[in-house]
Amino acid sequence: MQWNSFSDFIHMGGYGLYVWGSFGICALAMIIEPLILQSRNQKIRRQVKRQGGQP
């Protein structure tokens, strides 16, 4: 392990903004996409139920 302290870890040898920015935007994207899909799924299932199907 190459980190002596937590602030060392956050600092990323001066690249903190870039490294955490990159990982952050990926994490954000990979959290939001499933949520969008979940709501799309629920919406269409409600419609199917309304017309008498059984989702």
């Binding site: 990982f23 499933p34 899909l37 299932r45």
Partner: protein, 242 residues
């Protein structure tokens, strides 16, 4: 096992539903391992310091963006040849995730370029061809959402993705064919990788995690698309969409 059975949306729908939790679980486990290696096992790079750690998301995202496009072209070809409904749905199910990865590839690349090259963006062959890939995804999404008739939509989308797939080898070989600022491949099929083993390991595990994520999202979205399109068909009215 009769694979053609699953070419019908009615039988693919429950299968996809069963597979999603497995791929989701695999993704979570691989992400945990991959992130652990990315930050705690992989050593500091002697040239790029800690900044190189961006590659653990940048490279897998870029690979996925190219690979997903190839898979879309594959489904499109199948759809045009066999005229199966599911093919068009699969293509459309993958496109948003592909666009997302192309976008992430460009953004993380920018975030790497700023400290390493001193610029967010250059019009180099690798970057430009990757940007074109992103636009191809957007074009695909715009085209398919503009056509109401699902058969025509599938066909138009299939043609666009088959034409656009030409761009993928251009991206891949751009660092060889042109003098690019973007570095050449550190991992290739012909040479031993030019990076530390733990770095390579981290990158491959993250790539596998992104694979799992893509499959889970693709299956989830294709289920939505199937319901949306087949809402009025008998099998949904009658039996369990579970």
């Amino acid at each position: 096992m009769n694979w053609f059975k699953y070419a019908s949306p009615a039988s693919f729908y429950p299968l996809a539903g069963k597979l999603i939790p497995y791929f989701a679980a695999i993704t979570v486990v691989l992400l945990a391992i991959g992130l652990w290696i990315s930050f705690f096992v992989a050593p500091t790079d002697f040239q790029q310091g800690e900044g190189y750690r961006i590659i653990f998301v940048h490279v897998p995202a870029s690979w996925m963006s190219m690979f997903i496009y190839c898979v879309m072209a594959f489904w499109s070809a199948l759809g045009l040849i066999f005229n199966t409904r599911l093919s068009g749905m699969m293509t459309q199910a993958l496109a948003p995730t592909g666009a997302l990865f192309a976008f992430l590839s460009l953004v993380t690349g920018s975030l790497w370029g700023k400290p390493m090259w001193g610029t967010w963006w250059v019009w180099d062959a690798r970057l430009t061809s990757q940007l074109i890939l992103f636009f191809l995804y957007l074009g695909y999404l715009a085209l398919t959402s503009a056509i109401d008739d699902s058969r025509r939509r599938d066909k138009a989308g299939a043609i666009l993705s088959l034409v656009g797939v030409v761009n993928v080898p251009i991206i891949y070989f751009s660092v060889i064919w042109w003098n690019t600022l973007h570095q050449g491949a550190s991992v290739s099929m012909t040479k031993a990788p030019t990076m530390a083993h733990t770095m390579l390991m981290g990158m491959l595990i993250m790539a596998l995690a992104f694979w799992g994520y893509t499959i889970a999202m693709g299956l989830k979205r294709v289920r939505c698309i199937i319901l949306e399109r087949e809402m009025s068909s008998e099998w949904i009215k009658k039996n369990a969409v579970e």
